[in-house]
């Protein structure tokens, strides 16, 4: 239960975007998707990213994941520049991206198998995370038999299993109904409380952004850039009362304004 990210002066930020710029296309037709993004995220911090469609949220996340190259600038993880994907950065995609030919357990074991971990240990770890996300009874089910929320929980367990210190989540709950979504948020926070990771979580939902985060990162479009950082000074664990409290409403208002009235205020 920490209010502020654990961040020693000497250890530096867990993940650091430095002048990250990404251009798509060549010459005149080129498009600046991300313009000099600078952002430090502390170890164990939970930041959410909101902003209008096309402002480069996914691009920034894919760059951090090592799935997309930068045109300029760099991303440092633990002080080292990112060069391709790495097991210390887990990614959760909006489309779940479960391997449909593998069962829940085999999906969760996928990354461990690559590490050539012995079968018994693999299974122990997989079962731990499958229980953590509440899929114990479905460990041997194929993805096609799961609901959207269950698929996403399986994807979370799969990402957790390889023990990443950073989780990058791109609108992971975007396809879920409101009720499932709230449940998933609580489960995610619960999991995060027990197994603390650094999380960067992209969402379109202002409520979700405030509820989950230490800080909300608001981005602006054309060109995609950082617009505003709004701290959420509410303690964890977050509760339903908190969600309905005036403090929450106040922060929610700020974020809403920052997202939907980007031209009318500041800068």
């Amino acid at each position: 239960m920490i209010e502020k990210p654990v961040q020693d002066a000497d250890s530096g930020p867990k993940i650091s975007f430095q002048n990250v710029t990404r251009r798509f296309g060549e010459g005149e037709a080129s498009f600046l998707a991300l313009d000099r993004l600078n952002l430090d995220v502390g170890d164990g911090e939970f930041v959410t990213v909101v902003g209008p469609s096309g402002c480069g949220k996914s691009t920034a996340m894919n760059i951090a994941a090592g799935l997309t190259d930068v045109s300029d600038g760099r991303v440092l993880v633990d002080g080292k520049p990112v060069d391709g994907p790495g097991p210390e950065r887990g990614v959760i995609f909006q489309q779940y991206a479960l391997f449909p030919w593998l069962t829940v357990r085999q999906n969760v074991e996928f990354g461990l198998r690559i590490k050539r971990m012995p079968a018994a240990e693999r299974r122990r770890i997989a079962d731990h995370f499958i229980s953590l996300v509440g899929l114990k009874d479905f460990a041997d089910a194929l993805p096609k038999t799961l609901s959207g929320g269950m698929k996403q929980r399986c994807a979370i367990a799969r990402a957790y299993a390889v023990n990443p210190t950073i989780l990058l989540m791109d609108e992971p709950f975007g396809a879920l109904d409101a009720l499932t979504r709230v449940n998933m948020q609580d489960q995610l926070l619960d999991t995060w409380n027990r197994e603390r990771r650094t999380v960067i979580f992209i969402t379109h939902d202002v409520d979700e952004a405030v509820y989950l985060a230490n800080r909300v990162i608001v981005m602006a479009a054309r060109p995609g850039r950082l617009h505003k950082i709004i701290p959420v000074n509410l303690p964890y664990p977050r509760t339903e009362e908190m969600r309905l409290s005036p403090e929450f409403a106040e922060i929610r208002n700020q974020v809403w304004h920052a997202v939907y009235h980007q031209n009318t205020r500041t800068n």
């Binding site: 449909p100 030919w101 009874d137 799969r158």
Partner: protein, 267 residues
């Protein structure tokens, strides 16, 4: 999970029995009607064709004399040799084409070209260059099945979901792991469709090849029977060809079902 799967399987089983019984009954009715129609028009001497009884009797004779089994064996041997060689060559070539751009650019024009040439049109050339024994026939069948299977395999590789590839990469997969744990399983449904089409065209090709040049086989037998105006034997060969083709297709279809059980299906 156990409760859910058993329930699912129950429902599936019920649907299977009720959905499959009706078509089987309909198939039987259609079959009986066709035989009846055939018997009717031949008994009434509306056409100068052998009736079902005559053909059935000839079938018994041909089986008893050992000639039909012999013809079946030589046709099947050719088809299976050419088909298995074709598939064995098509799968690696299809993977290489899907995986390496330059390989695709090198090979694809030839494949597209030969796809436009009906395999039977190759027979004269094959006979001139390879003689009149087994080689030209097996070669033509090889070509027919190779061409249909290679295109399917390569389509399968290039249509693997990008997010599955990204998901594997961020879990630590290198090229080798990606290939055999993601690309291969994800393209299996496509490959099996290619195998099925390949078997169909191999079977169609063998009969035609035997009509042109052979000393045994179902096509050869028809050719002989034609010389002696032996209509019952022609009928026996035709029916045998149809039944064997159907059986082989069913076997591939059943294999396909087994291997792609994980796929979400509309029905």
């Amino acid at each position: 999970m156990s409760t859910l799967t058993t329930k699912d399987e129950d429902i599936a089983a019920k649907r299977l029995s009720s959905a499959n019984l009706a078509p089987i009954a309909l198939n039987l009715i259609a079959f009986t009607l066709a035989i009846g129609f055939w018997w009717g028009i031949t008994a009434a001497k509306l056409v100068v064709l052998p009736g079902p009884a005559e053909v059935f009797q000839r079938a018994i004779e041909l089986i008893a004399s050992g000639q039909l089994p012999l013809d079946i064996a030589s046709s099947l041997r050719r088809v299976l040799t050419g088909f298995l060689l074709g598939v064995a060559a098509a799968i690696p070539v299809g993977f290489l084409m899907g995986w390496y751009g330059p390989v695709r650019a090198l090979i694809e024009p030839y494949i597209q070209f030969f796809r436009m040439v009906p395999p039977l049109a190759i027979i004269p050339l094959a006979i001139v260059t390879m003689g009149i024994d087994e080689a030209p026939k097996v070669f033509v069948i090889f070509l027919a099945s190779f061409l249909s299977c290679v295109v399917a395999t390569y389509q399968g590789v290039i249509s693997v979901d990008r997010t599955l590839i990204s998901a594997a990469r961020v879990l630590g997969a290198n090229d080798g792991v990606l290939f055999h744990r993601v690309i291969i399983p994800a393209s299996i449904p496509f490959i099996l469709v290619g195998v099925r089409i390949g078997l169909g065209s191999a079977w169609a090709t063998v009969v035609a090849a035997e009509l042109i040049a052979a000393q045994s086989g179902l096509g050869f037998r028809m050719q002989q029977a034609q010389l002696y105006y032996d209509l019952p034997t022609i009928f026996v060969s035709l029916v045998t060809i149809g039944i064997l083709g159907l059986l082989m297709d069913r076997i591939v279809q059943a294999t396909e079902r087994r291997l792609t059980r994980w796929q979400e299906r509309a029905r």
